[in-house]
């Protein structure tokens, strides 16, 4: 919609932006939310998945989500990564969207996505969602901006202790790449012109399993209200390792540390999961409209973990 912007000129100076698959970029570009220099990297980047002798994988940043979703070896070694890739966006978008682009994508906040509304991410001074309509906002209120981070793959990579290499830095954790949620002007910590090159996954542990699910209103093709990628190692009937990485609830993907601790060493059954699920929301600070996300987070934790029981 073409509107007359009667507010001040946009305060943020457009920075050059890389375009990989373009599935996020093109929409922002068409709507006018994103302007400035465009650098297309689709033809030049790394699209390969390589494997170390110890079973660790490196995924080139331009590997498509569809490739990750359907690669048999990824599914065997990192089932949580594969399931997350299968669950996001639509089949057509997954064919084109890349892993690097998924990590570097911009917020889905509906205020951010309107070219005629100013917000913190566009260099403004306030968050209009915080005082306005934040139905899909965060339930862990960690910073001035109340939009959850949109990257499903980031939560999955967080569960797997993945590290990221850029053209300037290496060994970046997901927290290192995306920050702690307190910074509101960007969706990641990449400097202007810094490009994600590849993602490294540690070799899988003996006997580990994983699952992923998102809570949405329809059956498919919806941004998650809450999503959860989990890895466990169960031995002697007990949880020896539990990783819970949640998306949709905070400005960055979150490890549910208290719930992980609550399950560690516990008998792997539905009762201990239900008990520990109460800790999933430890530290949460919901907004007036987002309390429901805490119920969904607890329900999701029970769902994804119960599916990993024998």
């Amino acid at each position: 919609m073409s509107v007359a912007v009667m507010t001040a000129e946009p305060t943020a100076k457009p920075t050059p932006e890389f375009r990989a698959g373009g599935t996020d970029f093109s929409e922002r570009r068409r709507s006018g939310v994103s302007q400035g220099l465009l650098i297309d990297i689709s033809a030049t980047g790394d699209k390969a998945i390589t494997w170390d002798a110890d079973g660790a994988a490196q995924i080139g940043a331009l590997t498509t989500i569809a490739t990750i979703a359907t690669d048999a070896r990824i599914a065997a070694a990192y089932p949580g990564i594969a399931a997350s890739a299968q669950g996001l966006a639509t089949p057509q978008v997954r064919q084109v969207a890349t892993l690097g682009g998924n990590l570097a994508q911009r917020s889905r906040c509906w205020y951010f996505r309107r070219a005629d509304i100013d917000c913190l991410k566009k260099g403004g001074s306030t968050c209009p969602a915080r005082s306005g309509n934040h139905l899909y906002g965060v339930a862990f209120d960690l910073g001035p901006c109340v939009a959850p981070h949109p990257s499903t793959m980031a939560a999955a990579l967080l569960a797997y202790d993945a590290t990221i290499t850029t053209d300037r830095r290496s060994g970046l954790t997901i927290a290192g790449l995306l920050g702690d949620g307190s910074v509101s002007h960007a969706d990641h910590t990449l400097a202007a012109g810094e490009m994600i090159k590849s993602i490294a996954l540690p070799a899988p542990l003996e006997g580990e399993r994983a699952s992923y699910k998102r809570a949405i209103s329809r059956t498919y093709a919806e941004w998650p209200l809450v999503e959860l990628c989990t890895r466990v190692v169960i031995a002697d009937g007990k949880f020896q390792l539990v990783r819970l990485a949640a998306g949709g609830v905070a400005p960055v993907p979150l490890r549910l540390a208290a719930a992980e601790v609550a399950l560690h060493g516990k008998i792997a059954n539905a009762a201990s999961i239900a008990d520990a699920a109460k800790a999933a929301t430890s530290g949460a600070k919901p907004l007036p409209m987002t309390g429901y996300k805490l119920d969904l987070l607890q329900g999701l934790m029970r769902d994804v973990l119960e599916r990993l029981l024998d």
């Binding site: 375009r19 064919q95 509304i117 309509n133 498919y220 209200l225 409209m289 329900g299």
Partner: protein, 895 residues
């Protein structure tokens, strides 16, 4: 310069890195690929890139360099693909606008399935996952499931099928041209400048800077003469330029001063005593209209609240006093509840669009419209032109659902720009305009009290509706509760609550679904308290003969008979079954005319009516073919042109009942004429006498106008007669002002829904839907089934997913994309059982009445009642999103 190969031919790609593939494809004349959401969620623009389905609305054109593209036009170019044949045979389409995208995706799925799985049949789940990147607003999913499954199983490897929908081949091959696809030589693109604030007066509007930009051909103001802005997105001016980019640049150059006024947003804020007033007394006539018919009697107006409007009340004081008494006595049978329904956007996949051109003083306008004939009359009146100087064309319309019933801003802007620019101009709304300023079914708050008598009859009903109409008036919700479930007394009061939001518009059975949402839940609640079967209670309280038969059908369903009470369920997943009833008026349009001719040995039927996906062509073709013992494909149907004999608008479910009767009259006349002019009679014993006589006939033409109905049997009367004298007055006004007649007999539906509630994730899934419909004889049975299925899935959207989101202080519509305005996808379509009861309309020539609206009325309350049955908690506000479900399960208020 880089090139791509498209359908086997080379195509140069623009160097512009921002150019998107969809625009390059469409600008190259391949308009089967549709631009709808622009955000990769609806799939209408899907093409194959080296054989892989991708969305061309997000793909940079340069990404296709040195690759091979296949569009819908390249599929089946040497003979229909099995998927195309299956879509035609199973009527897996309605308006057809999403169809090319679905077909492209489904062919890729089919080809890869066949390569690996042979002729095994894919499951519903496999098909749903493969097509999860596509959306269909008409709701053709049921046919799509069947079509894809059977194409994969090899059933359509052979000959081309006969399609029940006359224009199906054009729609599955991408050849069907919609208004947005029209391209004249020298055509300009028009864009509308819209307001960024909700309430302001515009001063010092300066269009000169826009006119000064190279490539701009015309700039016209669109402000009303009071220069007021009353909602974000209100039009200010429009520009026509050589392309969209130039037009947008010109729009940005226009300057003006907005003098801000305090704004008020939404139902609750606008009702406060200190709320800023949207329409001062002198400006009230500027408000829009959310109803299909004319307004009734004058209504009082205080601040932003227009009402009470209560013409259909019956002994209102008595109702009030009985209800007060029951309240004081704490009568356990008194059902009292406040319900809320949400704003529903039409979300037609083809946006509002018009292409206008002047050839001398002849104006031709292609419009994506539900009313070509009426549009022609209104345009002629507005611009002082004789009727024969205005031609309105709509060959195919990509959905309407009520939002395209009158001459809209897109048409006015296109005409005025074309006149100023002296060149053809296209104006097509973008998705954000479509999902914010193009109309909607208003949200409403419904306060209801229902009191059964000690004898178990319905004694008193009170329903007060406050509708969130934005900058519009004329909501009728509560009043509709008069026409069903007779009671001793009813107090039915409607209010419009105006605020600085875009105006609402008619939407498929306008106030019907909101009224039904409240009333049908109250009936259900009464049955629970009275400890009687909800279907049997309806049978007792609702004497309508059509619905009596439908209640018997519903009561006999296994799913109904084997219901389990909520109390017996305690696990994560709980199932429930609910029932609800709906009705709509049987309407037909006076003066509807059909010409029937023999031309060159072929039958040709003509009428200035349009097909918005409802199947009008097929209804006419079937009627004619049956009478002459021919196949529908043997009949040429000419519609979509305003210079044909006047036809009805596609609103009020009136088309079938308006065009079938005059078609039957014309058939009789033509038969007589063919016989009279025949030089010889068919050979004795011929098994196709009419075919032979038509082939031998000289060119002749007859026409007929919609006749009055026959005398209905005793007890069958127009729905409005339930409302006594006021109902009759309403009927007269409708006939005089809107040329619509409310006929005898009430189109009815009873639906039974089975749901599963995931109590952990707040997710509701409709597993099975049973819809019983009494709409007379089916003029086009397969298409009627498609309408029934589409109505159910649209009702599911209303109940579970759809809501417009606004910013409470600025009035911006936040759900302006298809990501955020959530219509159902194929996986959300339940298994469906459709039951047609074809009796009840024998007094209508042909025996057929409309289906479009009645079929969607009871879906949301049937789902609500099913959820109540599953979890023991009644949810009173739609959509039933996960946040509301988890809140209800915890007994807490949702956001």
């Amino acid at each position: 310069m880089t090139t791509t190969t498209i359908n086997g031919r080379p195509l140069a790609l623009p160097d512009d890195p921002d150019a998107l593939l969809v625009d390059v494809i469409r600008d190259g004349g391949l308009t089967g690929t549709k631009l709808v959401c622009g955000s990769g969620v609806c799939g209408a623009c899907t093409v194959l890139l080296d054989g892989t389905p991708v969305v061309s609305c997000l793909l940079p054109a340069q990404a296709a360099a040195d690759k091979s593209l296949t569009t819908i036009e390249g599929i089946g170019s040497t003979g229909l693909h099995p998927v195309q044949k299956a879509f035609m045979a199973h009527d897996a389409l309605q308006c057809g606008f999403c169809t090319p995208g679905f077909v492209v995706e489904a062919t890729a799925f089919h080809d890869s399935w066949r390569a690996t799985r042979g002729t095994a049949t894919p499951s519903r789940e496999e098909i749903a996952a493969a097509l999860s990147g596509h959306l269909c607003r008409c709701g053709a999913y049921e046919g799509i499931y069947r079509a894809v499954a059977e194409a994969c199983s090899g059933r359509f490897d052979g000959n081309d099928p006969i399609a029940p929908r006359l224009e199906a081949r054009d729609k599955v091959t991408g050849l069907a041209r919609y208004t947005v696809d029209i391209h004249h030589d020298g055509q300009l693109e028009g864009v509308i400048l819209r307001a960024h604030v909700a309430h302001a007066r515009i001063t010092r509007l300066d269009l000169a800077p826009a006119r000064a930009i190279a490539g701009v051909a015309a700039v016209v103001p669109l402000l009303d003469d009071d220069n007021m802005i009353r909602f974000v997105g209100a039009p200010i001016a429009a520009v026509a330029a050589k392309d969209r980019r130039t037009a947008l640049k010109a729009i940005a150059a226009i300057t003006f001063r907005p003098e801000p006024f305090p704004a008020v947003i939404g139902l609750d804020a606008a009702r406060r005593d200190d709320a800023p007033v949207v329409f001062e007394k002198k400006d009230r006539k500027r408000a829009g209209n959310v109803s299909e018919g004319a307004g009734g009697a004058p209504v009082s107006w205080k601040g932003n609240v227009r009402g009470p409007s209560a013409p259909f009340s019956q002994k209102a004081k008595q109702a009030k006093s009985w209800l007060d008494e029951a309240r004081a006595q704490r009568n356990p049978l008194l059902v009292e509840e406040t319900f809320r329904v949400s704003t529903q956007q039409h979300a037609s996949l083809e946006p509002h669009a018009a292409v206008a051109r002047f050839d001398g003083d002849q104006l031709t306008v292609h419009i994506s419209t539900q009313a070509i004939h009426e549009s022609m009359e209104k345009i002629a009146k507005r611009y002082g032109l004789p009727h024969d100087r205005v031609r309105v064309i709509a060959d195919h319309v990509g959905g309407g659902f009520g939002s395209k019933g009158s001459v809209g801003l897109e048409t006015i802007a296109a005409i005025e720009l074309a006149r100023a620019a002296k060149a053809p101009v296209r104006v097509a709304f973008d998705r954000e305009e479509e999902l914010s300023v193009a109309g909607y079914r208003p949200a409403a708050e419904l306060k209801l009290s229902l009191l059964p008598s000690t004898e178990g009859r319905l004694k008193a009903l009170s329903l007060t509706a406050h509708a969130d109409t934005g900058a519009a008036v004329n909501s009728l919700i509560a009043g509709l509760a008069r026409l069903i479930y007779p009671a001793e007394a009813k107090e039915l009061v409607d209010f419009d609550v105006l605020s600085n939001l875009p105006p609402g518009a008619p939407f498929r059975g306008p106030g019907g679904p909101p009224m039904s949402f409240a009333l049908e839940q109250a009936i259900d609640e009464a049955a629970l308290r009275m400890k009687v079967d909800p279907i049997q209670l309806r049978k007792l309280w609702d004497p309508d003969p059509n619905r009596q038969r439908l209640y018997d059908w519903a009561a006999g369903l296994d799913v109904w008979k084997s219901r389990k009470p909520a109390a017996s369920q305690s696990g994560r997943y709980r199932r429930g079954v609910g029932v609800a009833t709906g009705y709509w008026l049987y309407l037909w349009q006076t003066g509807s005319s059909v010409e029937l001719a023999v031309k060159g040995g072929r039958l040709v039927a003509s009428c200035a009516v349009q097909d918005i996906g409802t199947g009008t062509r097929s209804v006419i073709a079937n009627t004619v073919a049956k009478a002459f013992d021919l196949e529908p494909q043997d009949v040429e149907v000419r519609i979509g042109r305003s210079n044909l004999p006047p036809g009805p608008g596609s609103g009020g479910s009136r088309v079938t009942a308006s065009v079938v009767p005059p078609t039957l009259l014309a058939i009789d006349k033509l038969k007589a004429e063919i016989k009279r002019t025949a030089s010889r009679t068919p050979a004795p014993g011929s098994n196709a006498p009419w075919r032979e006589m038509i082939a031998a006939s000289p060119d002749i033409a007859v026409s007929a106008k919609r006749q009055e109905d026959g005398k209905p049997p005793p007890g069958v009367r127009p729905a409005l007669h339930e409302a006594g004298l006021m109902g009759r007055v309403f009927g007269w006004v409708l006939r005089l002002m809107n040329h619509m007649v409310v006929g005898a007999g009430v189109p009815s539906s009873v639906q039974v829904m089975e749901v599963e509630v995931d109590t952990w994730l707040g997710h509701v899934r409709v597993l099975n839907a049973y819809t019983g419909l009494a709409i007379g004889k089916l003029a086009a049975p397969t298409l009627a089934r498609s309408q029934a299925a589409g109505a159910v899935i649209q009702g599911i959207g209303y109940a579970l997913y759809e809501t417009r989101e606004t910013d409470p202080s600025s009035g911006h519509i936040l759900s302006g994309s298809m990501e955020d305005y959530r219509i159902p996808g194929i996986a959300d379509m339940p298994k469906l059982d459709v039951h047609f009861d074809e009796a009840g309309f024998e007094h209508v020539p042909g025996g057929s009445v409309g289906i479009g609206e009645v079929a969607t009325v009871p879906t949301s309350p049937a789902i609500a009642n099913a959820i109540r049955d599953a979890i023991g908690v009644r949810l009173t506000e739609i959509p039933f999103r996960p946040d509301r479900l988890v809140a209800a399960l915890k007994g807490r208020d949702a956001a």
